[in-house]
Amino acid sequence: MLRVLLAKDLRRAWRNPLPWLINLLVPLAMTALLGMVFGGGGEGGSLGKVRFAVVNENHSRFSDFLRRAAGSLSQTNVSGLQLEPVFMDRTNALREINANQLSAVVIIPTNFGRDYLTARVPVQLELLKNPAESIHPAVIEEMLGVVVTAMNELSRNFHDDFPEWRSVFAGKDDYHQISFLIERVGDQLKSAEKIIKPPLVGYTKDETETASLAADGKKPAPAKRDELHATFAFLLVGLAAMFLLFLGQNAMTDLHREIRKRTFERYQTMHQDIWRFLVSKIIFAVVMLLICSVVMLGGGGLIFEIHWQHPLALLALAVGYAGFVAGLSATLVALVTDERRAAVLNNVAGMGIGIIGGCAFPARNLPAFLREQLTPLIPSNWFVETARHLQSGDPAAAGWGWVLCKLILGGVVLTALAAVLFRRKFKVGLRA
């Protein structure tokens, strides 16, 4: 009979596939969107090339110096960023930014060098950002901010030398003067070395563990060639757990329909026990949730080149978690059979469990009470933390089998609870 019930639901889903397609496509779209933000594989770093124009309207040696400094950026790769400065006049720069060929335009205005070195009037560098982009122009703006800060500090600390530098840039001094100036600036910079380059506190991973793994013949963890990929993998697990909570509730709206359409009642006029009916709904929901998990975790991993360290264990955990979510959703339906009121409860429950369970952001960021008392009790947290431990190679991941058992047991208990609640509701008259 379970097979007949499942076949009926599958046939109905096949005849009306749109809700299920949306359920599958939405998480895939969200995964793709977040993946593009955090990492997309391939060369050139996670943000790709940032093409920007430098317009030099000053035409002095000083601005040429700045221009050459900007040109040298194309040889550097700053934290995964590859910069591509191009040099052109204002008209061409405006045309290209309107044609979406540039992320930003930096304009060195007329008399910039003279005004800066004389410090008679405040100087400004002009920045035009491409409104069609958000990240690349922001990067250029930040870098320009750094340049402006550096120039302000230079002005503050080397103001007395500026007249001499002015004459250097005007071409009036000989090499003796220039070398004397450079030596003096060098001495000043050396005396401020501790301020310019303060000692930084940091940490490095113990490489001996990685080496010993390689010696065992097992594949060592791949080098983190892109920290953003690791961040995305970390987030993807939590997002998947959160999405599955809401998808599970969507899957169980079919139970609401069966109540509303009185087909559940009709079943009960034929059978005293309702557990088979419920279990068929649970199995159906688990199947759909598993497909969604594969789409999100597997598809996300394929598209964004995330190498899942223990895919089978992760899949098993996903099955267990899907069972828990399906059982929880069935219980929520049994508690509130009215579809509209249930939608409110489902959203609140989903958000609450997701946030307290550490799906949306790491549990360590939660208030102490939640973090210490509630989070460890939430099955979403068990799934998310175990999956993250599996991915990071944390020894705590060794207990994934026990977590799987807990998730399955949780699903079974919730399904039984749903059956008890439905039985009670039927006794007093079940109505949607």
Binding site: V4, K8, R15, E265, T269, H271, F426, K427
Partner: protein, 310 residues
């Protein structure tokens, strides 16, 4: 022997007594009609009989076995046709029948064979492969009915199976139900349509506000009103008290009085012509006297003081 026996059945929802001390039996080959207006307690009664609702008091015996003691046994021989359509609109008529046949315990082969029989009986064979959502209201009602018949139940509970469909479709369903009776099925049929109860049911129970007010064959119910004829008098009866008319209550029973009309039944077996003469000689100038057969509405009126159609 009765297939269904209901004794002192009661159900209360808060302060509302939905069903109160209802007693009746349904025998094999009989259609027992439960007639009452909306809110009378018909659906609540059916829900308790089908095991959907637990009664607060009373007993239900199905083929001699208490429903509470062995509900699964009772459900095996029972078929329930709910008032609302309880079918899957995405599936075809054939798929719906086969599914509910499997739910009723039939094997796949038996369910398929029985489905074909029912589709033919319900004259839906040519539409069996269409999705139910494309069916007309009458066709959906027929499929709804068929889904309860796959396992050939000995007891059939029908809760207003013709509500909301056109007269022709209703006639087809009533004809189908009549044929079921000939096979020995005991049928409990709830309705608020007088003509259905009159034409279809062997015995009728009149229910209102949760209480079974009267039951019997149509003739027995008519007899409650004093025979098989009623007299309808039209005149100005405002500020009149027929009870005060000399000898009136010794010869007639007053069933209903309005400002322009009274309905009376003759007491005892009397010649209608004599009754006419006496009525025309009443202290009030009578404008019109009509003779009619009592209907169920008249019975309901006499029992409750209001018409069933209100």
């Amino acid at each position: 022997m009765s297939l269904l026996k209901v004794a002192h059945l009661s159900k209360t929802f808060g302060a509302v007594r939905a069903v109160e001390d209802v007693n009746f039996v349904v025998r094999p080959g009989e259609i027992y009609g439960l007639l009452g207006p909306n809110g009378a307690g018909k659906t609540t009664t059916i829900s308790m009989l089908s095991g959907l609702l637990a009664p607060d008091a009373g007993e239900v015996l199905v083929a001699g076995t208490a429903l509470a003691a062995d509900p699964q046994k009772a459900k095996r021989i029972m078929g329930v046709v709910p008032q609302e359509l309880a079918i899957y609109e995405e599936l075809t008529g054939r798929e719906n029948l086969e599914f509910w046949g499997r739910m009723a315990g039939l094997s796949a082969r038996d369910a398929r064979a029985r489905t074909e029989q029912l589709l033919a009986s319900l004259t839906l064979s040519d539409r069996g492969n269409d999705a139910v959502k494309k069916y007309s209201g009458g066709m959906k009602r027929r499929i709804n009915l068929g889904c309860a018949l796959l396992h050939r139940p000995q007891l059939l509970l029908l809760d207003e199976p013709t509500v909301g469909i056109d007269p022709q479709a209703r006639l087809n369903i009533l004809e189908f139900i009549r044929d079921l009776r000939t096979g020995g099925t005991a049928i409990l049929y709830t309705t608020h349509y007088l003509e259905e109860a009159e034409s279809l049911c062997s015995r009728i129970g009149i229910i209102d506000h949760g209480r079974l007010l009267a039951e019997g064959t149509f003739a027995e119910l008519q007899e409650r009103l004093g025979g098989d004829r009623l007299f309808v008098l039209e005149a100005d009866f405002k500020n009149t008290t027929p009870e005060a008319w000399p000898g009136f209550l010794q010869r007639f029973r007053l069933l209903q009085q309005t400002e322009r009309q009274i309905v009376v039944a003759a007491l005892g077996v009397r010649d209608p012509a004599d009754c006419f003469k006496e009525l025309l000689n009443l202290p009030v100038p009578v404008e019109n006297v009509t003779l009619k057969r009592p209907s169920l509405n008249d019975v309901f009126l006499q029992l409750t003081g209001r018409e069933l159609r209100e």
